[in-house]
């Protein structure tokens, strides 16, 4: 878990660079440092799953794989932040350090083996995101998004803490292994069950699953676009991985009772997410609802908790992250040029910028799950795991809703290719957006053709 230590230092180093007035080099330095940390992270791959700091963190393959994904995502976001914040250069280093601290929270979240680390990771991630969501101080919509996110987030943290406390009261430990030992024993205390349900509710809040999703569209719409991209990718993936880790390691034995709750939640999430996305005319809001729907598909993996579900979940998050990050890279560049967040802003992109239009089309098709792309195999693996564990009804809902989702993804594609725009602007946008989009495009296509490129994290299983 050296990656966590180094990223924390990197965040502080950003602020130091600012003091020494080296603002110009902060973006390349941080991106290179993050890629170096990515390399260091994978030197521990397939190790003996060592635990750190009195079993606070555990560096197993699951943790390392998700850490790698989060680092790549953060590097992409930092690379884009240079041109995104071009009007407020004096604050650039601050924003980048907050992004790096968010990454620290994410890493703690995917590699915890103690409830204390789960809580700290979640809070570091959330508090950094509250700051970023409200970072356009003079924009009332950004303020509002930050306030809503803050209230919902700290409310969910309160529920999570009460749940953790009740679990502690029943088991006498915060350690996941000890809790798992207790959960597998005879005679589970009722307060343990209440505690687990409260933790479940808080995690559903964080991943924006359906009864608790109402904050997501407003927060996504109001936040600065780069922060929205971060919430949709980094924060969602980290929360989902933490959710899986928590339930697969510690509560797996009395999971049978929760599987049906989760299956109902997953079905509702997919239905509400996809159906509400149908009549959105804002790009960010549409992606917010699409993100809610994707959370539903990821919940399928958590619900089935089978030998290979960690792999299925990892593949899904990789496919989703790259498609989403690429879509936001192009979306941000277009929205910035046309000064509008509506889907009409994308009219005529096919003529003025064919590469961007092709890339965005591929990302949308991948998210919709069209065969030769990464998103198809992601959905296929997740559905396959769910069928193996006899959750056929939910899979039927998943397939139907994913057919519905094609409609709103095509709305954007049609806007780009068939409609004309009065504006005849040709500028391509900053090179960083195009570069990120190109990388995401390559990954999305490569994983569609060779899905076995994603490493297996199988040996982790559940312990």
């Amino acid at each position: 878990m050296r990656a966590l230590t180094y990223t924390s230092f990197l965040g502080i180093a950003c602020l130091v660079l600012e003091i020494f007035n080296l603002r110009k080099i902060v973006v390349p330095v941080v991106v290179i440092a993050l890629l170096a940390i990515l390399g260091i992270n994978f030197t521990e791959w397939n190790g003996s799953s060592v635990s750190f700091y009195n079993d606070m963190l555990r560096a197993d393959n699951f943790a390392l794989a998700f850490t790698g994904l989060l680092i790549v995502t953060a590097a992409g976001l930092v690379a884009m932040s240079g041109s995104f914040y071009d009007t407020e250069e004096t604050k650039l280093a601050d924003y980048i350090s907050v992004i790096v601290f968010t990454l620290c929270g994410g890493i703690a979240l995917v590699s915890f083996s103690n409830m204390a680390m789960l809580f700290i990771g979640l809070e570091v991630l959330s508090i950094s995101l509250y700051i970023l969501a409200g970072s356009k101080r003079r924009d009332i919509r950004s303020n509002e998004a930050a306030m809503k996110y803050f209230l919902m987030g700290s409310f969910a943290s309160g529920i999570l803490l009460f749940g953790i406390t009740l679990v502690y009261g029943a088991t006498g430990s915060f350690n996941l292994a000890q809790i798992a030992l207790y959960a597998s024993g005879p005679g589970v205390d009722p307060i343990f069950v209440v505690g687990v349900i409260m933790i479940l509710i808080a995690m559903l809040f964080k991943v924006s699953a359906v009864p608790f999703h109402f904050w997501a569209p407003d927060v996504y719409e109001g936040s600065p676009s780069l922060t929205t991209a971060m919430m949709a990718t980094l924060s969602k993936v980290a929360a989902m991985a933490a959710f899986y880790r928590l339930f697969s390691v510690s509560f797996v034995n009395n999971f049978s009772g929760f599987a049906w709750i989760l299956s109902v939640v997953a079905a509702l999430t997919m239905l509400v997410g996809n159906l509400t996305a149908l009549n959105q005319d804002s790009f960010k809001r549409m992606l917010a609802f699409s993100g809610i729907a994707h959370a539903g598909y990821m919940l399928l993996a958590i619900m089935s908790l089978y030998q290979n579900t960690a792999n299925a979940l990892f593949f899904y998050t990789v496919a989703y992250t790259f498609a989403s990050l690429g879509a936001f890279a192009i979306g941000i560049s277009v929205m910035k040029r046309r000064k509008s967040e509506k889907i009409e802003a994308f009219n005529g992109l096919g003529k003025s910028n064919p590469f961007q239009a092709v890339a965005l089309t591929v990302f949308m098709l991948s998210m919709a799950g069209i065969p030769p792309l990464a998103g198809f195999f992601a959905k296929y693996y997740v559905f396959f795991e769910a069928i193996k564990t006899q959750h056929l009804a939910v899979v039927i809902v998943a397939v139907i809703t994913s057919a519905i989702s094609v409609y709103y993804y095509f709305k954007l594609i049609l806007a780009m290719w068939t409609k004309d725009s009065e504006e005849t602007d040709a500028p391509a946008g900053a090179i960083s957006y195009i570069a990120i989009a190109a990388i995401c495009l390559i990954v999305t296509l490569a994983l569609g053709i060779l899905p076995s490129l994603v490493p297996s994290i199988n040996q982790v299983a559940s312990k």
Partner: protein
């Protein structure tokens, strides 16, 4: 450990602590849900966190295990950081809107 027999028990037991914390927590939850003033909501969130602290210390003593008390320090530190950010957001809202009533926050379409 059932909550129902606390009234029959003449001594202060762990159940009393659970009952008090659960009550404080519920007051906090209802405050967050039904109050419209942002400062009051902040205080209700603090109430939720502090009820958790109380319960953690009680369980910590009950189990003769110090880790619960250490967890309380984590919660206090994080709650302080959280409120610092929350109040900063509140100040920016007050500067732009001249009110802290959260019902006025409806610029994003529902």
């Amino acid at each position: 450990m059932t909550l129902l027999n606390i009234f029959a028990d003449p001594h202060i037991s762990i159940n009393h602590y659970i009952a008090v914390s659960a009550m404080l927590f519920t007051i906090g939850v209802f405050g967050v849900l039904f109050r419209r003033n942002a400062i009051t909501i902040f205080m209700c969130i603090e109430l939720m966190l502090n009820s958790v602290n109380l319960l953690l210390v009680a369980f910590s003593t009950y189990h003769h295990d110090n880790s619960g008390q250490v967890f309380v320090f984590f919660i206090m530190a994080v709650a302080a950081a959280e409120v610092a950010v929350g109040l900063a957001i509140l100040v920016t809202i007050f500067r732009n809107l001249h009110t802290i009533d959260i019902d006025e926050l409806k610029n994003l379409k529902n």
